[in-house]
Structure formats: structure tokens, C-alpha cells
Subunit: 240 residues, 2 copies
DNA sequence: TAGTGGTCTAGACCACGCT
DNA sequence: GCGTGGTCTAGACCACTAT
């Protein structure tokens, strides 16, 4: 007599595998044990392990390479660019963004910040303000808010040496992997400050992208608001 | 001695199944033969058919219902709303759009229209201009361009009786199923005409969504440019 | 009760990457 | 040559839907 199964075996296996990535037992870039080994360990067939791994590959948490093995996904430049960066030049060429950090400060979360990041009121956060370039011209002003508890010592980093791809930094330095993100887009008018940074006149149209990034464990790990000059670029979205 | 296989069996099967939907042998809403029957017909195992059907389900071309069967996907109100309509109220509630058709005219495609819809220059197109309401207020001005050859007799339809969900109409009346779409978003300023329709002042920010919709056969079947008032709504995008 | 898709297994063989 | 993932098969059993 067994209890009715809440989840099929391959989903339980998938969850078990994911847990090992969340708790840091397997880190980004690591190779997983081969399928027969995992099957033996979990007491399921290789087919069941395959299905679990296939679903993990589908959401980009692992990468499968025939002949080599299955690896925990890393935030590479390519992934940041093709997966999490949706601005494309109007000529269809992907613009490679560059960055210039304008400021970095820590402080207590505002009500809005704690709401968006699901933090207790007043929790410490780090705020970044940076300018991003596309094809050498200022095109995006970004305000980024991070829960300080997740990124210990962030505030003491050298502001000028912060890399362009922050997600890679989060992952390498604090083991925080951005697994997915939810974006909200609006059209807005450039304020005087944005206009100055972007070389626009005040009142020019900008695309505002408000993004919450979620870590492997499902909790928010970054709030980012980007205001973009879309006069020579556009945001792409594929609908299936 | 066999030629090296270009595509695995399950992909060939998937393509064969898709062909039957493209050529109208199976129409939207039809139930497909059961898996063992398809397996016998194609001379493959049931597992291979399953894999082909699973991939078709993943891109929303078929719907699988346990105990009932596998069906060719239909454009329902829900699908239009949750899949192809990305504007959401700032309170998080999905706004149900209403529509008012402003004009419908046919004519020869401009250079730009034929480029976007991959038509020979001067091909006949139908142009629609409509206003969409969210929560009872005008919020979107849409310009839609259709290749007239795909939608025979469209121009003779009664403009006022056109339904809100055009994709369902395309599918039911002409067998044209919108399988996927590519959207480009920009921020723009409302011109005098848009402003009048949307009840905004000229120069207010609007979100411009430029969408090419593709039919099952992979060819463009609609070009739509929507200019949206995003003061109380936003466009949502999920990144995985 | 019959028919459908959903899960799970076991095993054969292929394709790829390395050494 | 060996170990990896990728494909394909055959068959058992479960869960859901209809009649």
C-alpha cells in the first residue's frame, strides 16, 4: 500500500537535482555524474533521470553536451547577451553593451524596494546606478537594487572595476545564479537627469524596463530599472 | 547501406504531422488518431510518435488531453489573451480588450509592407485601423496589414461586425493559423492623431509594438503595429 | 468496460569527444 | 577504445474520460 503519488518520479528527481544546485553541492560549471550513476543513486531508471535532466536543460539550468557530459549552466557572456538582454539594433545586429558605473551606495530598503524584493522593511540594500553604451553611445540608464545580505561585501568592491556582466559576478563570487526574470515594460519620458546621461532632450521617449531577477531558490535577487533610448534600437520578444 | 540520417525519426514524424495541419488535412479542433494508430501508419514505435507529439504540444500546435485524445490547437479567447496579448494592468489584473474598427481599406502593398510581409511588390493587401479598449478606456491604436491573397473576400466583410479576436477569425474562416509571432518594441511619442484617439495630449509617451505573425507554414500572415498608452498598463515578458 | 494519454522500465544501438 | 549523451524500441502498468 502506497500513498498516492503527488508528483511523478521524474519530477521528484528533477527537484532533487535542483536542490543540489541550490544548496551549492553542485556549482556552476560542474559536471554532473553520468546518467547511469544518477539512476543508480536515486533508484530509478536511466530514462527517468534523462527526463528530469531534459526538463532542467529546457529551463537552462543544465547544459548537455553529447560525448562529454551534463554540466550546471554558467552565466556566460553569450547567455547574458542572448537570453537576458533584449535590445537589438534596428538593423538587426545585436549591440554589445558596455558599462560605466556612476555610483554605488548602500542603505536601508525603502518600502517599495522591500516590496519588490520581498524583504523585511528596512533591510539593507545596495544601489547601483550605471550607464550602458550601445555601439559606443550612451543608450541605457540603469538603477539596480540588491539585497545586501545575499551579496556580502558588495559595497566594499571597487566601483570602477565592476564587470559589465553582473550576473556572472553574482554567480562566481556569491553563488547566486539568476535562473529567470520577469520584466514589465512601459513607455516614459526622459527626465532632465536621464536626458543628460543619454544625450537626449528632456521629454524624449524612453523605454522603461522594470525587471525582477529570481535566483535558483525562487527568491528575488535583483531589482533593475533600465531606461533605454530606443531611437536606434528596439526590444525583441518572441511569442510561440 | 543507408544514407546518414539528416533528422532523427521523431523529428521527421513531427514534420509529417505538421504537414497535415498545414495542408488542412487536419483542421483546428480535430482529434488526431491515437498514438498506436499513428505509430503503425508511420512505421515507428509509439514512443517515437509520443516524442513528436510532445514537441508539437510544446509549441502549442496540438493539445493533449489525458483520457480523451490529442487535438489540433484552436485559437481560443484564452489563448489570444494569455499568449498573444501582453498588456496587463498595473494592478496585475489582465485587462480584457474590446475593439472598435475605425476603417478597412484594400490597396497595393507599399515597399515597406511587401518587405515586412515578404510579398512581391505591389501585391494587394487589406489595411485595418482599429481602436482597442482596456477597462472601458481607449488604450491602443492598431494598424493591421494583411496579404489579401490569404484572406479571400476579407474586404467585403462588414467592418462593424469583425470580432475582437482576429486570430480566431483567420483560423475559422480561412484556415490560417497563427503559430508564432515576433515583436519589436519601441518607445515613441503620440502624434496628433494617436493622441486624439487615445485621449492623450500630443507628445505623450506611447509603447509601439510592431508584430509580424507567422502562419503554420512559416510565412508571414499579418503585420500589426500597436501604439499603446502605458500609463495604467504595462507589457509583460518572462525570461527563462 | 474500453479507449485515451501519462509514467516507468530495460535494453540495444548510434554519434560524439577525448586520449 | 571508452565513456558520454542521443535515439529508438517494446512492453507493463497507471490515470483519466466516456459510455
Amino acid at each position: 500500500m502506497e500513498m498516492p503519488r503527488a508528483q511523478p518520479l521524474y519530477r521528484q528527481t528533477k527537484a532533487a537535482l535542483m536542490r543540489r544546485m541550490v544548496d551549492g553541492r553542485w556549482r556552476a560549471g560542474d559536471m554532473l555524474p553520468a546518467e547511469p550513476a544518477l539512476a543508480a543513486e536515486f533508484g530509478v531508471s536511466q530514462g527517468t533521470v534523462r527526463r528530469a535532466l531534459d526538463e532542467l536543460a529546457q529551463i537552462n539550468l543544465v547544459v548537455r553536451r553529447q560525448g562529454k557530459g551534463t554540466f550546471v549552466a554558467e552565466h556566460t557572456r553569450e547567455r547574458a547577451l542572448f537570453h537576458f538582454f533584449h535590445l537589438v539594433g534596428d538593423d538587426g545586429k545585436r549591440a554589445l553593451p558596455g558599462s560605466r558605473m556612476l555610483s554605488m551606495k548602500a542603505g536601508a530598503a525603502t518600502r517599495e524596494e522591500s516590496r519588490r524584493l520581498k524583504l523585511a522593511a528596512g533591510t539593507r540594500v545596495v544601489r547601483l546606478h550605471r550607464l550602458r553604451m550601445l555601439d559606443g553611445r550612451a543608450a541605457i540608464v540603469e538603477r539596480i537594487v540588491l539585497p545586501a545580505s545575499l551579496y556580502d561585501g558588495f559595497e566594499r568592491l571597487d566601483r570602477a572595476s565592476l564587470p559589465n556582466e553582473l550576473y556572472k559576478l553574482y554567480q562566481e563570487r556569491w553563488g547566486v545564479t539568476v535562473a529567470r526574470a520577469a520584466e514589465k515594460l512601459k513607455s516614459a519620458l526622459a527626465g532632465p537627469e536621464d536626458a543628460a546621461h543619454l544625450g537626449l532632450r528632456s521629454g524624449a521617449p524612453v523605454l522603461e524596463i522594470d525587471r525582477i531577477a529570481y535566483a535558483l531558490d525562487g527568491n528575488p535577487c535583483e531589482w533593475r530599472v533600465s531606461r533605454c533610448d530606443t531611437s536606434a534600437h528596439h526590444y525583441v520578444s518572441e511569442v510561440v
